[in-house]
């Protein structure tokens, strides 16, 4: 696993043209914690997750990964290595499930080691019978499990999930939740965006709502997060 501690984001603002999406919001994340992010459609959940993952440049934003407050741009490489962003509809590369999983093993040395890791991941994600299946032909639930298995292979400190159970039947959703539960126990921080909040009640430690361009804290079973804006007088590197 890539070693990383808490990560704090502050002063994140973003607009698409004249349409404001996020306004000066802050969020603190810790490995092993599960944060549920809710909000109405179009409230900016996906935008926020993509900014956290280093995939979308915000208008303003600062990140503290433990080595001082840096601009988002300077932190981008670290965000990309520490966060995995899983799309609402996962992208499957051409080829088999095995190939799709092996893409996430580029840092594993040796063919045999890579093969074993991929087979372990298939076992972990309950995909054992689909090794040679064309990944693009799998059902939505199976593709989501392939996507989670790829993330599990990378073992990042944080995984950002965009509506992971959207458009799934209850059986597929249950299997996805089982995998998320397993990920939580491997000390990976999960940030889950969903409008089906009750599905994640037993999993989430913190529940944040994105509304009117701001994050607000709704409730927590074991609250340890901090969503108050980080003071701007911190030293900016």
């Amino acid at each position: 696993m890539i070693s990383s501690g808490p990560v704090s984001f502050s002063a994140i603002s973003h607009s698409f043209g004249s349409r404001k999406i996020l306004d000066n919001l802050s969020i603190d994340l810790e490995p092993g914690k599960v944060v549920l992010l809710s909000g109405e459609n179009g409230s900016g959940k996906t935008t926020l997750l993509r900014i956290l993952a280093g995939l979308l440049k915000p208008d303003t934003g600062y990140v503290d990964t433990g080595s001082g407050l840096l601009s988002w741009r300077k932190s981008r490489a670290k965000l990309i290595s520490n966060f995995i962003y899983l799309h609402q509809t996962p992208y499957m590369f051409e080829g088999s499930v095995y190939r799709n999983l092996s893409i996430a093993t580029s840092c594993v040395r040796g063919y045999e080691n890579r093969k074993n890791r991929v087979l372990d991941a298939m076992e972990w994600a309950m995909l054992g019978g689909h090794r040679f299946a064309e990944a693009k032909t799998l059902s939505g639930g199976q593709q989501q499990r392939v996507s989670l298995a790829r993330a599990w292979l990378r073992q990042p400190p944080y995984i950002l999930l965009d509506e992971p159970t959207a458009n799934m039947d209850s059986k597929s959703a249950r299997r996805t939740l089982q995998l998320l539960e397993k990920l939580k126990h491997t000390n990976i921080g999960l940030i889950i965006s969903s409008h089906i909040q009750h599905q994640f009640d037993s999993l989430a430690d913190d529940h944040l709502e994105l509304k009117d361009f701001q994050l607000s804290f709704l409730n927590a079973r074991q609250f340890s997060g901090n969503v108050t804006p980080i003071s701007r007088d911190r030293e900016i590197v």
Partner: protein, 233 residues
């Protein structure tokens, strides 16, 4: 028309007999155009990728420029390269005029816009999630680029075939900068022009048959890779 039938029969006989002069011309054509496409392809690939994935000042102007160059007459390209490589030109010291290298340079200039325009369209057709997924799974920018290239390989192959099809059949630039010198710079289109002007139709038709067969094969491959051969239902 009376001479067409015997000339065609003689052309087939020339092709079948393995006439060394004729097949040497075919070989020069493939060597020059093959080298040009091999040199242009990596450059075009990187430019097409940059145009599709990175936003930088002048990006739209560059896209317009390459689209405009698509319809640039080959003979004008030949003229510009001729001026650059002639003794009085800025690159005259390299003494490249009337060599295969000059033809390769001209053909690179001719096929680059096609490769870039079609490559750009292929990269644009790639799903944005592919790049993001590759990067988020730990691939370096180059690793992600390689993955995307694999995903859109059929579109890129179509660009290669189109570019090759254009330069192997063009006559204007090759004639101007190559000089149509036997055993050196005489390729299929320049040989056809010459043999026809001499009234030697059989060799012109034989070389024409090679070009037509090549065009047919390239078109078949293009259809295969672009999926045009598929039925709508």
């Amino acid at each position: 028309m009376d001479s067409l039938y015997p000339a065609t029969r003689e052309a087939f006989a020339l092709l079948m007999s393995g006439d060394p002069d004729l097949w040497e011309i075919v070989g020069i054509s493939f060597q020059v155009s093959g080298t040009a496409i091999l040199i242009s392809a990596p450059v075009a690939l990187l430019i097409a990728f940059s145009l599709a994935y990175f936003n930088f000042p002048g990006r739209r102007a560059l896209i317009s420029l390459f689209n405009t160059l698509l319809s640039f007459p080959a003979v004008v390209v030949g003229l510009i390269i001729y001026i650059l490589l002639s003794n009085q030109g800025p690159l005259g010291n390299f003494r490249l005029l009337f060599t295969q290298s000059a033809m390769i340079i001209a053909q690179c200039v001719l096929c680059l816009p096609i490769l870039i325009a079609m490559g750009h369209a292929a990269f644009q057709s790639a799903d944005q999630r592919a790049w993001e997924t590759a990067r988020t799974l730990g691939k370096s920018p180059f690793g992600a680029f390689s993955l995307i290239v694999l995903e859109i390989r059929f579109g890129l192959l179509a660009a290669l075939f189109s570019g090759f099809g254009r330069i192997i059949a063009e006559v204007g630039a090759s004639m101007m900068v190559g000089g149509n010198i036997l055993h050196h710079t005489r390729n299929i289109p320049t040989a056809i022009a010459l043999e026809t002007s001499k009234g030697n139709f059989s060799q012109g038709i034989a070389l024409g048959i090679v070009l037509v067969v090549l065009a047919f094969v390239l078109n078949l491959l293009l259809q295969h890779f672009q999926g045009r051969g598929k039925l709508a239902l």
